[in-house]
């Protein structure tokens, strides 16, 4: 019926011919997780092995399934959904709130003032740095580098202190509301954040010396778990995992939301410096340099942030959006977070669906882990940086 002009990208799940030494061994199925320390939560992998080589990997998810979508339908208030979206990606709660707030504001046609926008961007970028620090630290930890993990957590702690001063919470904030913020930032927010940016910048170099350029680390991550560009796009992979494959794609630049079009920053992509383009090391190094870009955005935002403005002036008394549908996406530390909201003019969403980046990124795992060693599985899972709270929602 349809005239197909070009074949789609080849996505085949077959073993490369050059793995193994030609000796036939007995096939073995082993179970990795759900309590395995390197699975970043409760992920179970069913691995079919030929000797030490993975011939098939099947992820089993759902251990953390709370179905926030069902809860939200019965909440009877759109604002009460925010604590639920916090708990999806619990290491980047600010970004989840921001995405939800922007989707609702577009649906209801609410404009927020500049002070709110700037505070939101600063918070979101601080959260991105904190989340990348955790991703980098635990990635190193998975591979056996214990010390960088502690260095990362010292810095992350400083960001959490800033969040705690503003919102009272350290992990799940409920800070960004539909139409505004929970409360204004404290008086010393600007100086605290500026001090953090100043102290953190040299730490990125230190981290590179400690971990990124470490010979053992490079040997464990370069040329492992190669994700080609075409495969990544076809699977819908987004965020640093997509950029690690050399695709210059960042929603903050390519589909700007909030006030991201006012800032100068680069989109970091992998270059295959240590091995093949799109390997674990590339995905890792993208996160490292993205922290630097986030610092640039924070500095620019601090410079031009207005000092006056009521952060709650646009918050609606009763949230009752007009009937309609919206799909709105934002860039979280893990990739494209989309909210699909259907409103039927009542006080709770008729249907809300979160397109969680970790869920989609994890689905590429069976394709890129074929032919890897068992020990490399740990590196591959760590490099795509999943948060199981978001995978299972």
């Amino acid at each position: 019926m349809t005239d197909v002009k070009e074949k789609g990208p080849e996505v085949t799940l077959t073993l490369p011919a050059d793995t193994g030494n030609g000796l036939k061994t007995q096939e073995m199925i082993i179970n990795m997780g759900p309590q395995h320390p390197s699975t970043h939560g409760v992920l179970r992998m069913e691995l079919t092995l030929n000797g030490e080589i993975v011939t098939k990997a099947i992820p089993h998810i759902g251990y953390l399934h709370r179905c926030f979508e069902k809860h939200s339908e019965a909440m009877n208030d759109y604002a009460k959904v925010i604590p639920y979206v916090d708990r999806m990606d619990y290491v980047a709660a600010m970004n989840n709130e921001l995405g939800y707030a922007i989707a609702m504001e577009r649906l209801m046609d609410i404009r927020v003032n500049d002070r709110v926008e700037y505070i939101r961007v600063i918070m979101a970028e601080l959260q991105r740095v904190a989340s990348h620090l955790l991703a980098i630290g635990t990635f190193g930890l998975d591979i056996g580098a214990f010390t960088p993990f502690l260095y990362c957590f010292i810095e992350r702690e400083k960001i959490l202190d800033i969040f705690e001063k503003a919102s009272g919470a350290r992990l799940l904030y409920n800070y960004i509301w539909i139409g505004g913020l929970m409360n204004d930032v404290p008086a010393d927010f600007k100086s605290d954040t500026a001090a953090f940016v100043k102290s953190f910048r040299p730490k990125i170099k230190e981290l590179n010396d400690l971990l990124s350029m470490n010979r053992i680390f490079i040997d464990r991550t370069a040329n492992i778990g190669v994700l080609p560009e075409k495969v990544a796009i076809n699977y819908g992979v987004s965020g640093p995992s997509l950029r690690g494959s050399g695709v210059k794609w960042d929603l903050r630049r390519d589909d700007p939301y909030s006030i991201y079009d006012r800032f100068e920053f680069d989109v970091i992509v992998g270059k295959g410096e240590m091995g093949t383009l799109g390997d674990c090391w590339d995905r890792y190094i993208v996160r490292v340099w993205e922290m630097e870009e986030s610092l640039k955005i924070i500095e620019q935002a601090l410079d031009s942030m207005p000092d006056d403005g009521d952060v709650q002036e646009a918050i609606p008394k009763k949230i009752r959006p007009p009937a309609g549908e919206i799909y709105c996406r934002t860039e979280t530390p893990r990739g494209e977070l989309g909210y699909y909201i259907i409103s039927d003019k009542s006080t709770s969403p008729y249907r809300i669906k979160a397109r969680a980046p970790s869920f989609v990124n994890l689905s590429v795992l069976p394709a890129i882990s074929i032919g890897a060693m068992v020990a490399d599985m740990v590196a591959i899972i760590g490099s795509i940086d999943i948060v199981l709270g978001e995978v299972d929602r």
């Binding site: 649906l107 819908g236 799909y327």
Partner: protein, 161 residues
């Protein structure tokens, strides 16, 4: 870059007026409703045709329209080269919710179709691995349907606490 109206004109020229219908929505974005039996051909056309190149399936969601006794699937598409977006919808009767899978066209659909089956009981023909994804394999019912009743016991354990 094409608008939904232009895309609708292209689709009706290719597949006929009766198979795809434009639903205007002045508030946010319009969408196109497609008949379930042609969805795979439409998807292939949208991905491969020059000037369309929808190479990325952003999101696939099931929806239960309880009043109309219908189940729907919404596809949110995006083209990384042409930078346009499109929302496609397939509406099916509740008692015969079945449509061709688009897993062969966008791999993103693999897990999302499993999720739509798990949560709504929508069956995707030609899916290579049509299992539940979030709930256990022996779970009863489809939680996100509006008329869902949670089972009383699961393997001898009380479900409602």
């Amino acid at each position: 870059m094409k608008t939904t109206e232009e895309l609708h004109r292209l689709l009706s020229a290719q597949f006929g007026d009766e198979t795809c219908e434009l639903k205007p929505d002045e508030k946010v974005e319009p969408w196109i409703v497609v008949k379930p039996e042609v969805i795979r051909d439409v998807a292939k056309f949208l991905r491969d045709e020059d000037g369309l190149r929808f190479d990325c399936l952003m999101c696939l969601s099931g929806v239960h329209y309880q009043k109309e006794n219908e189940l729907g699937v919404t596809y949110h598409l995006f083209s990384t080269s042409e930078k346009h977006k499109l929302a496609l919808k397939v509406i099916m009767p509740e008692d015969n919710a079945q449509l061709p899978s688009v897993e062969q066209i966008w791999k993103t659909a693999d897990w999302y179709e499993r999720e739509a089956f798990d949560m709504f009981g929508i069956r995707f023909d030609g899916h290579p691995d049509p299992r539940r994804i979030l709930c256990p394999d022996d779970w009863e019912g489809h939680p996100l349907r509006k008329d869902y009743q949670v089972q009383e016991f699961y393997r001898g354990m009380k479900v409602e606490y």
